[in-house]
């Protein structure tokens, strides 16, 4: 029972019933009051006027005249409808429709509500007692029994309405409670299953689109996100374990071998240097992961400023151009002019740098890499890096942005498989998207920043003083060179 009282639906239906009753009473009360006042006032007015008229008859025509008048009136009407009586000073009946002067009428003239014997049964009536000259007494009155009936009907009706309201309310409450409880229980069971560890469960939804359904959809969306995150974490943990295990295994065997063989000093130092390089690789992976974690939390948004994407990309191209020259790759830059996005300059530079670095890594000697910044007609800003290298198969494309994923082509190249993940995380942080498309041949990677991420017409905050003209084409022509590194 306590559970029933605690339940929300019980409280709700009880509240509705109480509210309904209050509304009914509020509706009936003024009606009742108005009726009472109007009917009673009207009644007493009529009685007083009647008494007044009869008094006038008495004054004009005396006892005999009034007696004749009353007898005529009594003969014309139904006995119960009206009370009319003339009596002498000792209250003996002279005329009227009452057999004798009623005992219950008070001595003083005035308006009273009394119980009289009418047609053999006590009846509530309203009367006016008037004192006529020479001690005669006049009684004019009306039986209110039919109004009493009406009153009774009124109260019965009101009570009935309350009863029906209560019954329907309770029944409705119980039914609603059962319906809602059933749905809530199914939600509860799903959530319990999820708590136990099976994340594949989803809340049952209907097509109704009601509140519970909306809630279920929202919760399902949240579960999708959580599942994705957990899978992501699981994948990343596996990848970390794998990717860190490799350099750690190398490091361990290197040190163990050193300890066992105790080679000459020169060789020992070489091995120690190699061991430090192994550790540096591990640290590098950690740093990349920490940066990704930092980006994922979205904390960096607090430090957003206006960044000139054009300038940022031009600088990245300039930074990587010597590396391109060495590989005999043409690295070019094209832009439609200055475009601003609100963002973190360091992260954006790192993202563009990663894309150029990737392209240079895979494009092969004699290839070309083209970096483009353009402000699109739909208001979005696009930074793209395209190469004419081997490209990525369509089936591989979704995988390469996964953390630690390394395509077959990347197996022998330096890197930890976090480059594109970082680019994607940076794009996401800035409300943008990352698109990988075919460049026929090669790969084109686009970072697209939606118009919301871009604020135009503001002064540019740029960290360096390199000015680019409106349409920059800084093609770095390469000459085969063998620079000493």
């Amino acid at each position: 029972m306590a559970k029933v009282i605690r339940s929300t639906t019980f409280a709700l239906s009880f509240g509705y019933i109480a509210f309904g009753i209050v509304a009914l009473v509020l509706f009936a009360a003024p009606l009742w009051y108005a009726w009472q006042v109007t009917v009673e006032d009207g009644r007493s007015e009529i009685l007083h006027a009647d008494a007044q008229r009869l008094t006038e008859v008495f004054n004009r025509e005396g006892v005999t005249g009034l007696k004749t008048f009353i007898d005529t009136r009594v003969g014309m009407q139904l006995p119960a409808e009206r009370i009319l009586m003339l009596a002498d000073s000792s209250l003996h009946r002279i005329a009227g429709n009452m057999p004798r002067w009623p005992q219950t009428v008070p001595q003083q003239p005035g308006l009273y509500t009394v119980t009289l014997e009418l047609g053999g049964k006590p009846t509530e009536s309203v009367i006016v007692r008037t004192a006529l000259p020479d001690g005669y007494n006049l009684l004019v009155g009306r039986d209110v029994a039919r109004f009493a009936n009406l009153t009774r009907h009124f109260w019965t009706g009101l009570g009935g309405a309350v009863a029906v309201l209560s019954i329907v309310g309770v029944l409705g409450g119980v039914l609603i409670r059962q319906a809602i409880l059933a749905r809530i229980n199914s939600i509860r069971e799903t959530v319990l299953a999820i708590v136990k560890g099976d994340l594949s469960h989803r809340l049952p939804t209907r097509r109704s689109g009601d509140e519970l359904d909306t809630l279920a959809h929202t919760i399902n969306g949240m579960l999708d996100q959580i599942e994705q995150l957990i899978h992501g974490i699981r994948d990343v943990s596996n990848s970390i374990a794998h990717d860190l295990r490799t350099p750690l295994a190398e490091l361990r065997s290197r040190l163990e071998e050193l300890s066992l063989t105790r080679p000459s000093n020169e060789e020992t130092f070489a091995e120690i240097d190699a061991a430090v390089a192994d550790v540096d690789r591990v640290i590098r992976i950690f740093n990349a992961l920490l940066r990704l974690a930092e980006i994922d939390t979205g904390m960096r948004r607090s430090g957003f400023v206006q960044v000139n994407a054009n300038e940022l990309a031009a600088e990245a191209v300039e930074f990587y151009s010597p590396a391109a020259e060495i590989k005999d790759v043409v690295l070019s830059f094209e832009s439609t002019g200055p475009v601003c996005i609100s963002g973190d300059p360091t992260l954006l530079a790192q993202a563009v740098g990663n894309l150029i670095d990737n392209a240079l890594k895979y494009v092969g000697e004699g290839g070309s890499v083209k970096v483009e910044v353009q402000s699109r007609s739909d208001g979005a800003v696009e930074i793209s890096v395209a190469d004419n290298g081997p490209g990525i198969a369509d089936t591989e494309k979704p995988k390469v942005v996964q953390r630690f994923y390394r395509g077959d082509l990347s197996r022998g190249t330096p890197g930890v498989g976090l480059g594109l993940s970082l680019v994607q995380a940076v794009a996401k942080l800035h409300g943008g998207t990352l698109e990988l498309t075919d460049n026929h041949p090669g790969l084109r990677v686009r970072m697209i920043f939606a118009p919301g991420a871009r604020i135009s017409g503001r002064p540019l905050i740029v960290s360096t003083g390199v000015q680019e003209s409106d349409a920059v084409t800084a093609a770095v022509k390469s000459e085969p060179s063998a620079l000493p590194l």
Partner: protein
Amino acid sequence: MKLLLVEDNERVTRFVVKGLQEAGHTVDNADNGREGMFLAASEPYDVIIMDRMLPGQVDGLSIIETLRQSGNRTPILILSALSDVDERIKGLKSGGDDYLTKPFAFGELLARLDALSRRSQGSGTQTVLEVGDLKVDLLSRKAVRGERSIALQPREFKLLEYLMRHAGQVVTRTMLLENVWDYHFDPQTNVVDVHISKLRQKIDADFERPLLRTVRNAGYMLSADG
């Protein structure tokens, strides 16, 4: 140089103190905030190396803030495992002059200490820098070696200027990235090395005595006696 190391990890302390002493520096060390605060306030140091998280209620940043409020201008290098950009900004805002995250390479620490001590000596208003027979005019933005003028791209000029300002000191790749390109991230590949070799091609290729040399496991150094 006379240096103060405030660091609670014994192993790191031993490693750093030994390395710095071998590099010819005098090192005092404190393993808690209170002692570090006392030493930093009472002794004159060239550079203070400060760990952020320290035992004994007083943390690194509050020591730095207190020192700065009392008018102490000793250069401070913050050493911390907190690597977020926000943390770095917090460290520099509190009054630190440089921020190095753990784990670090000893060469990096040494190079940054050198750069910090040089900065405090103040050589800011020079308009012509000279190393051996290489001259750089910062106003006309021209570089001349011997009798020959060297054509440099703007970024190459900036790179050379930074190296010349730190002539005789080891400059690491990270320092170059941060100060010449303003890049505070790891660009994955050895792009800095490529820039250096391009510069070297221009300033050293046709001369008998190279000025710019590579320091193993650390970075680069520009010096007349290279």
